[in-house]
Amino acid sequence: MEAGLESPVDEDGVHDSFSQLIAEQSQNGGPSDAFQLQQLQRHLDEEDRDNVAHLSSPGRDLRERRLRQRDVQWEDDERQGDPLLGERWSSATMRILSSMPSRTIGRSRGAIISQYYNRTMQLRRRRQSRPAIRDFSHSARPSIRGYGMEADSTDAEVSKRERLVNNLQNLSVSDRVRMLRAMPLNVAEKSELRRLALQKEKSTISGSQIPCCSQLKYYIIIGARQSWYSWLSFLHSLQLGQVALKRVSGRFGSGVLSYFLFLKTLLFFNLFLFLVTGVFLVLPQAVHPPVLPAGRASFSGLELLTGAGYFSDTVMYYGYYCNYTLGRSCMEADGGQNVSLPNGTRLDCVSENLTYNMPLAYFFTIGVSFFITCIILVYSMSKSFGQSFRIDKSHSILAMKVLSSWDFKVIKKTSVKLMSENICTQLKELLAEVNHKHVKNTRCQKLWRLMVHGLAWAICIASTTACVLAIYYFSGHMHQKQSSRSTIDPLLNEASLLALPVVVSLINLLLPGLFNLAAWMEDYDSPSVRTYVSIGRNLMLKVSVLGVLCYHWLGRVAADPKMIGLECWESFVGQELYRFLLMEFIFTLLDTLFGEFLWRLFSEKVLKRRRKPVFDIAKNVLELIYGQTLAWLGVLFTPLLPAVQLFKLLLLFYIKMSSVMMNCQSPRKPYRVSQMTTVFITLLCFPSFLGASVCVTYTMWSLTPSSSCGPFRELKTMFQAGKRWVEALEKDNPNLSVLARAHSYLVENPFFLFVGAGIFLIVIYFHSQVVDGQRKIIGLLQEQIQNEGEDKKFLITRLQSIHEQKRTPGRRLTSQDC
């Protein structure tokens, strides 16, 4: 059978199964029923075959019973199953069927254009504001007031294409771009439509009378948009590892790719922080260096590891920053701004016009950068959540697996083979799940499983608690030793500072292995549950470790810095964070070396296994989150820490990339990429960023800054810098006293915080109720679709029966009634 061409060029193309029939109909003048039925029967053979297969599936029972009840009404006992199949249609019915809208979606260009004409019409109606009543005469009837009517030309002969172009022109630019992008048309045709739409727009603009200021605004907007696009294309052309990403996705698929994309996201966060702190803090202070105390240590190589020594009096740490206004003449003395000069020597004053209030800048830079990071994080988290969360908890898992689980990015032959094996296994598992009845465990088995789970959790919690206590006592011990140490070799002194970071990194490296053993012992049925449990345990470990460290720094060191002979506890905490970050990086490198590279050599040469080690995505992402938490904790104390983190992430990107390509294979377990990405962004926002900002807020609000270093010396808390400024403003300009009083009331009274949180919770509650309502509506709509399907079948059979009755009034076809 020669199939009719179904290219979009073929305007009048219909479904190819009808074309032969219609051709034959037109050939034969008066068809004889028998001949026609024969043709149809031959044609419909394959559908009959379908029918048999379709009957054998057990799930259809209910529907068949319902249909059977209806069939009884039609007095048709022999028809079973779907009445639309195996039916003998006349060609007239077939012709009608072939031009049903549902069969012509996306088929011919004309159909696409009319479909999009309808869509643009709907969009215009939605977007257009209703014309005001006063614009119409009093006597106008509502129907001709033009509500929802478009002021188009009513030329009856205008073709559908011109109508579409008209609609496009009347939409806003963003809507037009979106509509054009979504059209399944040829590129040439789309550019033609775009050109026509713009052409009309240009002619109307030049024709009409636009006042000059809005024309100017129009040009400014166009210019801004063009420059934004060229900036974006420049960024894209930089190709930050695009080639490498393509290789990884080609070989490992979307799962491992998501790790590298997460790394890139963190890179951008750190870049933003670095730019902000660099421009507002580091640069001004570097340009106006303060007078440094004598006795600075010389550079020895150990500084790169410990961050102390030569680095401690550089722009890297909190202690270097001045607490006065830079660039101001020293004749002026301002309330609250002390010019701290060592030994009363005169500053080399340069009376410039540019002044820069360092304490205020420090306070606001940290505050504003945290606020902006919070907003960006919450926005990306909600966007990712929206993509992966589905309101309707549906059960179409098998269909989804068949039709949307093939990863088109994978191009390497072995990976493709692996992926198809994975899909095969998953389909078998899903079939088993769907088919079998749920195996009921006996009570004994249930108890046994409960015991095993309880034991595994007990092991994990006990080991975590043991490690946390170990860190607590060890840090206390080092703290004591620090205080009692005086004049031993300073190099050894510095090296001993590395002990705590090394211990913590060792714990972070070894304990997840223990958790994996426990999970292997538990033997979970569902791999996603296993992943979530493993993430939960690792998270618990890292949160408790960070918690005890924060207590050590903010509770012990900051509370009594004099005990260990510290002049400047903030710089010390900054140095600690630097050390921790660096040690974490070194241990990650060691883990990559031993865990991936050497393990692969070992398993290939010694164990003679062909399988390479699997890249554990969850573990690596949690490590990234841990490092980022340290960086966020340290920004207050070490403004250059984001730069260190940036450098470290760049190195990590390329090292991990080469290690993965050389040593690993893709994970065998099914990995739900978008769900995992949502989980990781949520973890980045909630425990990580929230914890860091709580610590920083606590430091700024309650802790006393050291009195001899940093931009907040002489103040009771860091927060007072803002207060002092407002007071100074008030003194300068008494009109602002209202503002100052409002500010102090708002910020210091916790009542407003409670009210704000209460309103926030109420809004969340309302939104969750809306989601519930939408879920119910979805259920109702699905019922409605089913009913429409039944209606369609009914109408078609009636149409057929009426047509046959009309054509052969004498012949009584059984089982058809009027």
Binding site: L5, S7, P8, V9, H15, E46, D50, A53, H54, S56, S57, G59, R60, D82, L84, L85, I105, G106, R181, A182, M183, P184, N186, S230, L232, H236, S237, L245, S249, S254, Q387, R390, S394, S396, I397, L398, A399, M400, V402, L403, S404, W406, D407, F408, K409, V410, I411, K412, V416, K417, I423, C424, L427, L431, I785, Q786, E788, G789, E790, K792
Partner: protein
Amino acid sequence: MTNADSSSFRLHGRYRELAPHLVPLDYTNNPDIRVPPTLIVTMPELKENPFRDRIVETFSEDGHGNLSFNDFVDMFSALCETSPRELKTIYAFKIYDFNRDNFICKEDLKKTLNKLTKGELSPEEVLLVCDKSMEEADLDGDSKLSFSDFENMVSKAPDFLSNFHVRI
């Protein structure tokens, strides 16, 4: 827009290297050249894809897989990362519709499944999977997946957008 220009230039380079004797360097007078599908599926991005023939056929104007340069650009712009969801859904539906009747019937599902698993499943399992999938996804009860059934099912699959993406 410079981004479109640079990627268009890159795509032209890739198109040309498939058939350097057929494709001219200069496209200013829009010559009517079509590269046959046997050459197009040798591209590394498509070579190992089990659906490569269907992809090439879907984007060709004549339905047999001969792609002109415009069709080539169409294909990669529909499959790119920033392509809108509706467009990807439409083309995915066309790709999986093997007999091109605007419905994904059981035969189409069977063929899709066989291409996915490369014959690893037994025939009874294939039949069972097709039946169950049809049951799950067919909303209006005609035992075929129309475009709206497919769209509804795919909108619930959160990985569809990231999976239906070819990097070039």
